[in-house]
């Protein structure tokens, strides 16, 4: 959940890739589109071994779990015959590697089996829930960008002023406050006590306000911090001094010269934001009663529903990997200095 926060704090420690450099004019490159296509294909192929590794880890973790799934599914006093038949039906007696390949083959086709408890295909359950999670995640991401980037810029423009300190205080609070706690407090204050907003459920735009603020706040905090440090770094560059010495107003220097480059590393946060928003959605969805993927994960764990947990975690990981690829492509598209290698 706090990976973004980590990156925000360690942007100077990470590889030089995300460090802004002076802008070099975009020169025409031969067959740029072709090279981009190759880069995209290579990135997608590179994701395959990662997804296979992920599926292996999930399978190992979830299939060494003690406890008999049959006992979970059925009531007591069933005859051993029935147990044996169901076990055979579910292929539980096959060797582990065969079960793994069956799981992998199913996953490739989008089939994660049937939920033990809900008796419905896992894929169907996930796809019914995903639009809610997506809506919440997009709203939270939008909130975090709309609030985080201006807060970071303001704190640089008005450095060491009260405004700077309050912006950074807001950001630091955002990354430090436990999401489940701020969710409870906001829900209690604005929904239960004041009655301004609905308590829980998901039946209209008003229902989205509190979850969005809760989930977006921590993201906004790290984006503001990253924007601030990145902008400060860019403002120390030579070409900014040149722009200033031309007699440009500070605001023009900022908006025309510094901002573009300083927002590049912020774009990379998008990739990591997918992972953190998914982690955060687990909590927000449980507290605000939104039927999303996060709540499925919690439900699957509480009811020890292995196929449901296996499928939903695999799905979440797939989204993270996808987010990483999209962000890398977007980044290389935005920054001509990055080579497609």
């Amino acid at each position: 959940m706090y990976i973004r926060f980590f990156l925000a704090k360690h942007s100077s420690l990470m590889s030089g890739k995300i460090r802004p450099l002076p802008l070099i004019p975009r020169t025409s490159r031969p067959k740029a589109g072709n090279r981009m296509a190759k880069y995209i294909i290579r990135r997608v192929i590179g994701a395959v071994p990662i997804l296979i590794g992920v599926s292996l880890i999930i399978f190992i973790l979830l299939n060494i779990v003690p406890g008999d799934p049959i006992a979970l599914m059925m009531k007591e006093h069933i005859s051993p015959d029935v147990v044996a038949r169901v076990r055979a039906q579910m292929h539980l007696d096959d060797p582990a590697y065969i079960r793994y390949f069956r799981f992998l083959w199913g996953a490739v086709q989008g089939d994660f089996g049937e939920s033990y408890k809900l008796k419905r295909p896992v894929t169907e359950l996930i796809f019914n829930a995903f639009p809610n999670t997506l809506l919440l995640a997009v709203a939270a991401a939008a909130f975090s960008w709309i609030v985080g980037i201006p807060a970071g810029i303001i704190s640089v423009v008005k450095k060491y002023s009260a405004l700077d300190y309050s912006c950074m205080g807001f950001s630091l609070l955002g990354v430090s406050v436990p999401v489940f706690w701020s969710a409870l407090i906001l829900q209690h204050t604005f929904a239960v006590k004041l009655g301004w907003l609905p308590v829980s459920g998901f039946r209209g735009p008003l229902y989205l306000v509190l979850p969005t603020v809760v989930l977006g706040w921590s993201s906004a905090g790290s984006i503001a911090r990253l924007t601030r440090s990145s902008l400060l770094e860019v403002m120390g560059q030579d070409y900014i001094r040149t722009a200033r010495s031309k007699g440009l107003k500070e605001l023009a220097v900022l908006s025309n010269h510094a901002l573009k480059n300083s927002l590049l590393p912020v774009v990379t946060v998008m990739a990591i934001q997918v992972a953190s928003l998914l982690s955060g959605a687990v909590i927000t969805e449980s507290i605000f009663g939104i039927a999303g993927v996060g709540r499925i994960v919690v439900y699957a764990i509480q009811s020890r529903d292995m196929p449901l947990l296996q499928g939903s975690v695999m799905f979440a990981t797939f989204l993270v990997v996808l987010g990483n690829i999209v962000a890398d492509i977007l980044y290389s598209f935005l920054d001509p200095r990055i080579k497609y290698e």
Binding site: M1, Y2, I3, F5, F6, K9, H10, S12, L13, M14, S15, P49, I50, L51, G53, V54, I57, I58, L61, L62, I64, V65, L172, L173, V175, S176, V177, P178, V179, F180, W181, S182, L184, I185, H188, V192, A275, S276, L278, S279, V282, I283, S286, V297, V298, I301, Q302, R304, L309, V313, A316, T317, V320, V321, N324
Partner: protein, 306 residues
């Protein structure tokens, strides 16, 4: 600072003992500059003091806590804050303040132990990966990629689901999730350090690879590891609180802060302090570690850039 460095350039070229003196002088300089720059940062000092106070309270919990945190007294449910029960009592009549004080033990333990374990694993793998390169590097980094592909909370939840909810398993779950990022940072540092002249020099006089890693590369990674360590602690504390809140972390009757918020959320109306107070405790500890980490990073930064 620049002046100091210039003056130490000369003896370095001279003889063996002088070289040792230079190293000592430099590290002394480093410490002095570091503490000077750190002490100027008021928030960082405040963070350090807060952590010191909370750690002492956690260690001395049996002496500091006004009541027994596990003593159930159903006749005294939801007592409002009073001089006897400063933060009131919870649904079982237990003193909330005492439970928070004992909860500091769990939170600090969770903050320190898994972070240290993951740091040790991450440092080892990062050093090996960055120094040797090749197939070893490829394997370790792909494994790191796989771990990083999981949303960390989800992976920790799955590990807890598999292993069962105990304190030891929280250590394992959080360490398993965190080593990869540390390994990446250490690897990047190692790769740039191994190209430096002093490593080449050591190699030229026949120093073994393992000695180079331990004596020459690792000490140079320590400043960034220190920053990493401090900034990962609040993260681990928040993760534990979240896992406990979701019911896959610490189990009742343990006085984990996340668990206390979770239990108190049903009673926000009659007794808001039960859920609010542990959350404030988490917030204070996490903020303190963040301030401390930021302070250490800012104080070290000029040295890392050299």
């Amino acid at each position: 600072m620049g002046v100091n460095l210039d003056s130490t350039q000369e003896p370095r070229l001279a003889s063996g003992p002088a070289l040792k003196d230079t190293a000592a002088l430099e590290s002394e300089n480093f410490l002095r500059e570091f503490s000077k720059s750190f002490c100027r940062n008021k928030m960082a000092v405040a963070g350090a003091v807060t952590i010191l106070v909370i750690t002492s309270i956690a260690i001395l919990a049996p002496f500091v806590a006004p009541h027994d945190p596990y003593q159930v007294n159903l006749a005294n449910q939801f007592a409002p804050p009073s001089p006897t029960y400063l933060l009131g009592t919870d649904m079982f009549g237990r003193d909330v303040l005492s439970r928070i004080i004992y909860g500091a033990r769990i939170s600090l333990l969770i903050g320190l132990v898994p972070t240290f374990i993951s740091l040790a694993i991450g440092t080892f793998l990062g050093l090996v990966s960055g120094y040797y390169g090749g197939k070893t590097d490829y394997l370790i980094m792909r494994l790191a990629d796989i771990v990083l592909a999981f949303p960390s909370l989800l992976l920790a939840m799955v590990v807890m689901y598999t292993l069962g909810a105990t304190l030891l398993n929280i250590f394992i779950a959080l360490s398993a999730v965190r080593w990869a990022r540390m390994a990446r940072v250490v690897r990047a540092e190692t790769m740039s350090l191994k190209e430096k002249e002093f490593v080449e020099g050591a190699r030229a006089v026949g120093v073994s690879n393992s000695t180079i890693i331990i004596r020459h590369i690792f000490p140079n990674c320590v400043p960034s590891l220190l920053v990493l360590f401090t900034l990962q602690i609040p993260d681990a504390i928040l993760s534990e609180a979240t896992l406990s809140f979701l019911g896959v972390g610490a189990q009742p009757p343990a006085s984990s802060w996340g668990l206390m918020v979770s239990a108190g959320k049903e009673f926000l109306m009659p007794a808001p302090a039960i859920a609010i107070a542990p959350g404030v405790a988490i917030l204070i500890v996490v903020l303190a570690f963040n301030f401390l980490g930021d302070g250490i990073r800012d104080a070290i930064d000029p040295y890392m850039k050299q």
